[in-house]
Assembly symmetry: C2
Homo-oligomer: 346 residues x 2
């Protein structure tokens, strides 16, 4: 068993540092190969550890690295380059750059974490634009890798083709899917349907020797398990992801309202509650814990600001699996395969 | 009470002609001002009418117009111009063009119905691209007008601005919303967030004298009632709409599976079933019956192929309300207001 060192941005997220530290402790218990590097305000972190169950055996696998600043939600991402050079997100990225950690996990400022990953850790050779992937649940088995959702907008066709290839590597190496079925998000199944950009992206992937490219996917295919990987520009990906969050809220609020309408429905609701909870758990983003940023020279997992300890734990778990799979090396190899002698459309 | 003449493409839809005729009969009962023009194969239609309750008083308000052809789902939309000039969709559009009907309703070939509406009925002066709008349910009251969802792709900024203005007229005239709150679908609330196209579309609407333009909307805002109208390109709109359909299916299938897991949950499910049905009814597309195509010189409502009689009835109802509101005249006036002396960026 090889040890895997993961740096956690302890200060990032709405419930930091309690939720991040509690999640780190749960992750240490779940993955014996994990070495945890806690990045943040050492003076705040150290006193919290004993109360959160960081006993001696766990402390042996834990290291605290001080960062004097925190990137707030109202900061611009680029503040990591100047005013907030010593923020926890950037210090975590620096540890990955220097090889002291194989990966970083942040539930903090999404734009800041993306910028730190791209500029500090750096891009994989052959990758022009790293892409944030989301795992979308369905009822068929492994989730659909949906990339790009990080507001990586106005993508050119070669960027979207790159997202598709990186998503396929993730499905293979981390989710264990053999020959993942890959699609480009479009408005119809037929090859002739799509925008100028999606048609060109599809033509770049068609006939790719090492990719099971199926063709166009539609909006409904994100949720039905017909594809393992669906690639698109970050504008549409971000809109679809936030739309899905909006629908989830609508369904939860509406069901709650319907089921608590009177004593009779409340009695029925009490009976079905475990089944409903079980169902919602299958659709819960916290099960995946965070979104992998693909195409950087190391592991980077970016979580939801509202992450609780369970989400943090699962985000760290995703980073451990990505580190095990040497994801970025595989991506580099696959991108080189794509165009053996030349550039990748930079 | 003014009579409103609506032409129904009886042959369109998966359950035609039974579902379309049954829906027409329900609509006649619901709206006394409705005069129904049934367009399709007269030899098939006439024998079905008595059995579907078209008694003498209803027949007095019903007219059958023969069309010898049907546009099938595997036909290209442009077949309406040549091989299938006498298909029911085109004949219905022709009746609107000639003033014999104020509006048409079709549950058939979406692309064909859009093409017939745009080319046969014609575009409102000042409108370059008509747009298909969808009504998205939320828990706050009137639905959100989400436009464009008809795969009207690679829109330019002025097209999206036009969708926003037409959507606002629909919200006012048909849904009765005063000073509808209008947004452009983007990746963040801040004015600086967006693609090149959405930023330019927003700048065209900002400061518009007769529009309550709020700014950027996000994906979640489609479902929370914070906006009355959200405009976007037809690629992203189509993807969001189909994604929502996919989620609805996932939730329904998942809930069913969870609630029928064993006898105990089935007993609980039996108790909560009416409440659940009531909730799903609030989210059911059949309540709206069809999507209005805005920007053509007449009323055009395009429904889902799987429409049942209730959806057909509600689609006809949407057409009656649009005819009452003289929607296309209002849109023409509003588009002229936008740029008093000039073109609309054609």
């Amino acid at each position: 068993m090889t040890a895997h060192r993961i740096a956690l941005d302890v200060m990032g997220g709405d419930h930091a540092p309690q939720a991040t530290l509690a999640g780190a402790r749960e992750a240490l218990a779940a993955w014996p190969e994990l070495r945890m590097i806690l990045v943040g305000d050492e003076g705040r972190i150290r006193p919290l550890l004993p109360g959160l169950g960081f006993t001696a055996p766990f402390m042996d696998r834990t290291h605290v690295v001080h960062a004097s600043q925190v990137l707030d939600f109202h900061d611009e991402p680029k503040a990591i380059l100047k005013e907030k050079k010593d923020c926890s997100i950037r210090v975590a990225a620096q540890l990955v750059r220097e090889g002291q950690a194989e990966g970083m996990v942040s539930m903090g400022h999404t734009g800041g974490a993306m910028m730190a990953s791209v500029l500090v850790i750096g891009k994989v050779e052959g990758v022009d634009r790293p892409g944030l992937a989301s795992l979308m649940p369905n009822l068929q088995g492994s989730p659909t890798v949906f990339i790009e959702v990080g507001a990586n907008i106005d993508s050119r066709p070669e960027h979207i083709a790159g997202f598709a290839i990186m998503g396929a590597v993730y499905a293979e190496e981390v989710l264990g899917v053999k020959e993942p079925r890959v699609g480009i998000l479009s408005v119809g199944e037929e090859d002739t349907k799509g925008t100028e950009v999606t048609l060109e992206a599809a033509s770049l992937l068609r006939g790719h020797p090492h990719l099971n490219f199926v063709g166009n996917a539609e909006g409904r295919d994100i949720w039905n398990g017909r594809f393992d990987v669906i690639a698109c520009d970050g504008y549409v990906g971000n809109v679809v992801l936030k739309s899905a969050e909006g629908i989830a809220r609508l369904v939860k609020d509406g069901l709650k309202e319907a089921l608590t309408a009177n004593l009779w429905t409340m009695a029925g609701a009490a009976i079905v509650k475990p089944a409903l909870m079980n169902f919602f758990k299958r659709l819960d983003y916290r099960e995946y814990g965070g979104l992998p940023l693909l195409g950087v020279k190391g592991v980077s997992v970016i979580g939801h600001g509202s992450s609780d300890a369970r989400a943090v734990k699962n985000g760290i778990g995703a980073a451990v699996r990505a580190a095990e799979g040497r994801l970025h090396d595989r991506i580099q190899a696959r991108m080189a395969e794509r165009m053996p002698g030349g550039s990748n459309g930079k």
